[in-house]
Amino acid sequence: MRHDLPLSENSSSVRRMSNVATSPSRFAALANPTRFLQLSGAIQPWLYGLALVVLAAGLFLALTAPDDYQQGSTVRIMFIHVPFAWIAMMTWTVMSVSALGTLVWRHPLADVSVKAAAPIGAVFTFLSLVTGSIWGRPMWGTWWVWDARLTSVFILFLMYLGLIALTRALEDPGRSARAAAVLVLVGFVNIPIIKFSVDWWNTLHQPASVMRVDGPAMPAAFLVPLLVCAAGFTLLFFAMHLTAMRTEVLRRRVMALSRLAARASGA
């Protein structure tokens, strides 16, 4: 029995091994802020373009969707409210992965990602609260109730504001990075609470109707516009996040050069 592989297979397995071996260096290359600026500069316009096309299609589908037999035309608010709520939670999840990058891998762009994502996440959370409230007035007869879902999302909004304050309180971003990463990871506890609040407690807010174990409980006429809108807003989030990260890298360069200039003028 031959144990050695033919030359071609041997070389392909070596290539596979070498791919595995070189992947950390590729990861490291992406960690270089200059390389990140080059790469993101090329991707950014395409991402914005795609986001706008998908959003335009989503909004067209949303505004031409049939009325719901219970909600009437207010179902159109759901096509933006639900994606805003998803993105509010997704942004905190993205920040949590970035926070791990700060604390575990000390990735130079991880802290940049957290700081850049926070204001965008805050706006999407604010919009999920406001659009939900506007929908609630005609459907529930009230603008607001302190039920578990609404309260936990409101807490998420306050956490975003706290994080924004923390990342901007200290002039040296390196000093606030660890504290911000810890806050983000501790705050991640709130994400499953938001998701399962409608199952764990009696809430006025209805239970999940899309992300369910037995599949979406929604007809295609409503599901399609909802998912297209969600895809559009998600693309918009990532495009904006990229812009904010690029700006944060530039801000840190300006700070470093300003310090150099101050030192040079003092010498």
Binding site: I77, L127, V130, I134, P138, M240, T243, T247, V254, A264
Partner: protein, 59 residues
């Protein structure tokens, strides 16, 4: 579309559009401001050591 809900629907879409446009404008102005600051510093001859060494290597 039922007219009785028109105000609620337009308010929800209007607030969303204004907030997202405001966010986009803030991101754009922030990016432009930092780019201008960086250019102004570089115009004064202040460069990062890595940029200076890269230029030195290229030359």
């Amino acid at each position: 579309m039922q007219n009785e809900y028109f105000a609620f629907i337009s308010a929800a879409y209007g607030v969303s559009a204004l907030s997202l446009l405001g966010l986009a404008l803030w991101l754009f102005l922030d990016a432009r401001g930092r780019q201008r600051e960086l250019k102004a510093l570089e115009a004064r001859g202040i460069r990062r050591r890595s940029d200076a060494s890269a230029r030195g290597t290229a030359a």
